[in-house]
């Protein structure tokens, strides 16, 4: 069970306290408590349907269907006023599961739009930013392509370029490797690690791709769909070997649970 220790400074990274999420009367997860350190990669794990993406949507303020508290560097998300929340959202970049690139815009326009809306930059300055962000994700010179002209892996990278357009402090990734071949998936993992190091990003990823989890995660939480709460917290490599929960070990070692045998 994830717990918060008292020595965590209130303004340090992301802190989730006593978060309970519901869909109507149905409980999704309860009593979630965890801390995400700055410039680290934190993975939210669990079997399908356990509420991983719902937790991510709560953390990025797209959904609010429960109790508890989420704070970013000491700023409490749900008790902030609208302007503060909007300012906080601009410090958050999100790569959606389906990439959610705007299909009527070119790749360059997709990356440029957040800059046009939220910065005073002029067109020439925005062009520099767009070209650079695309170069960072290995899509240099692809500004004029439409999203439909890109492969799945390239779309993921274009989505990543859009997510880091505003130089966010926090990067949320929803199933970044889903639907990608192992080589593209490995390249994306390497890219995430390099971006974290170069941009000093705090990365929060929802995934159940084991190779990705073991490659990128500094810390993790495992959401259980039976008890509807987090039953493990820590380095996934450690959890795979020493977790007290059989379902966590089964998940991380890709083994059948005793119930399934």
């Amino acid at each position: 069970m994830a717990e918060l220790t008292s020595d965590i400074a209130a303004d340090d990274g992301v802190i989730v306290r006593d978060l309970t999420m519901r869909f109507g009367d149905a409980l999704v997860q309860k009593d979630l408590c965890f801390h995400i350190q700055r410039a680290s990669i934190f993975v939210i794990m669990g079997v399908s349907g356990c509420g991983k993406s719902t937790l991510l949507r709560h953390m990025i303020d797209l959904q609010h269907s429960g109790n508890g508290d989420i704070s970013f560097d000491g700023q409490r998300l749900w008790s902030s006023d609208r302007n503060e929340r909007a300012a906080l959202q601009r410090r958050i970049g999100v790569l959606f599961q389906s990439t959610a690139l705007w299909s009527s815009m070119t790749v360059g326009e997709n990356v440029a739009l957040p800059l046009q809306l939220h910065t005073p930059l002029r067109p020439g300055e925005i062009s520099d930013q767009v070209a650079f962000k695309l170069a960072l994700v290995g899509l240099a010179g692809q500004e004029d392509k439409m999203p439909s002209e890109l492969s799945g892996g390239m779309q993921k990278r274009a989505g990543l370029a859009r997510a880091i357009a505003l130089d966010p402090d926090y990067l949320f990734l929803d199933e970044p490797s889903a639907g990608l071949d192992p080589i593209t998936s490995q390249r994306l993992d390497a890219l995430i690690l390099r971006l974290r190091d170069a941009l000093q990003l705090s990365v929060i990823a929802v995934t159940h791709e084991l190779p990705s989890i073991f490659t990128i995660a500094d810390d993790s939480i495992y959401l259980d769909n039976q008890t509807h709460t987090a039953i493990a917290h820590g380095d996934p490599c450690e959890l795979a070997r020493h977790s007290t929960s059989a379902s966590v070990r089964a998940f991380l070692n890709r083994e059948p649970l005793d119930d399934d045998a």
Binding site: S103, P120, D128, Q129, A131, A135, A140, P147, L195, A198
Partner: protein, 377 residues
């Protein structure tokens, strides 16, 4: 040359010399409202030097904007055959610069634009393709209709019932309002004009013939094109984008048979019924106006209507409404099934359907007017 434009503006200074120009970067780029654009700075660098030095020793911080600027500048200068030497850059900026891959070299020359004759040929070929697809669709509809009637078509009857409800009962409110008002408008304009000549008694002729023969069929068709045609096209285009139609093909189901045929049948059945309903309401609208403006009692209006409007007028309107129903269903299904695979195409499919249906409805109506005139009916 200095780039100082205010307290919050990022700073750079170009020390231009023929053999070794140096760009000194300085200040707080994180808070700068307008960091210099690489294009502006590149233009101010002379072309004589082989290498331009970028020095970051006076920078206050290591914001990613600095790396974006240098990346852009390096690209622009390399196009002019000039190299870039980086010195004293903050560690994070250097790391970002290493991460950013340069753009691959552009293709040597853009493909030449085809000449006007070739463009005309390509256009004709595209149009011919569309015409062939349309003929294929109509042929498929003709071949598969007996299969549908005999209950052997690969379709779900539950979908068909839902479509009957969607196209029929669910359309009643809007068909009611529009036809009632159209009848009232025709009645009002007619009453004012006919009253001038003392021919108010002929208002029933005007409202009856106009509604039964033209307006009820056309207005109902316009409503159905906007309401149902657009829905069909958007739904099928969404299914195409989500690969649902490919999934149907993979289980051996013809998308036309499963998706378009029930829509075609529902529209063909419901359009004439909605037309009859609309015609009656338009006549009622005209009758109410005749009563209010001319003081004609409803019984007298109805009596005159029976003399003036023959069953033939309703038959013409009825046949046209069947044609309109077929047109709307086939057009919307054709456009929906041939839409591209993204969200923008869904909206485009809906718009194209409405526009194509309106043009088609007017064209069919004009053709029908010519035919009935030639036949003397």
């Amino acid at each position: 040359m200095a780039g100082r434009r205010g307290v919050k503006t990022a700073l750079y200074r170009l020390e231009d010399s023929a053999d070794r120009p140096i760009i000194w970067l300085s200040g707080d780029w994180a808070r700068a409202e307008h960091p210099p654009a690489s294009e502006t700075v590149a233009q101010s660098v002379g072309s004589a030097a082989a290498v331009v030095v970028i020095d970051g020793s006076a920078l206050d911080n290591a914001h990613p904007r600095i790396a974006a600027f240098i990346h852009g500048l390096r690209g622009l200068l390399s196009q002019r055959g000039m190299g870039v030497e980086l010195q004293h850059l903050p560690e994070n900026v250097s790391a970002l610069m290493q991460l950013a891959r340069p753009a691959p070299a552009r293709a040597a020359a853009a493909p030449r634009r085809p000449n006007s004759l070739a463009r005309l040929g390509m256009r004709v070929r595209r149009r011919w393709g569309t015409a062939a697809d349309t003929a294929h669709l109509v042929g498929e509809a003709l071949v598969l209709t007996p299969k549908l009637v005999s209950g052997r078509a690969q379709t779900r009857w539950r979908d068909f019932v839902d479509l009957i409800h969607e196209t029929g009962a669910a359309s009643l409110p809007v068909v009611t309002v529009v036809n009632l008002l159209i009848g009232a408008v025709i009645g009002f304009i007619g009453a004012v004009q006919l009253k001038t000549f003392g021919a108010g008694m002929y208002l029933a002729d005007l409202v009856g013939v106009a509604s039964a023969r033209e307006m009820a069929a056309i207005m109902t068709a316009f409503i159905m094109a906007g309401r149902i045609g657009a829905t069909f096209a958007a739904h099928l285009a969404t299914m195409e984008a989500n690969e649902e139609i490919d999934a149907l093909r993979m289980i051996g189901v013809s998308p036309f048979e499963f998706l378009a045929l029930p829509r075609l049948a529902a529209m063909t059945l419901m359009m004439p019924l909605l037309y009859l309903y609309g015609a009656v309401l338009a006549i009622i609208g005209g009758m109410v106006v005749a009563n209010i403006v001319l003081g004609t009692p409803p019984a007298s209006f109805f009596e005159r209507l029976q003399d003036a409007v023959s069953g033939t007028q309703f038959v013409i309107g009825f046949v046209k409404s069947v044609a309109f129903g077929v047109l709307i269903a086939l057009t919307s299904c054709y456009i929906g099934l041939h839409a591209g695979r993204n969200a923008a195409e869904v909206g485009r499919a809906a718009t194209r359907t409405v526009v194509a249906c309106i043009i088609g409805i007017i064209s069919i109506d004009a053709l029908a007017a010519l035919c009935t005139n030639a036949l003397g009916i």
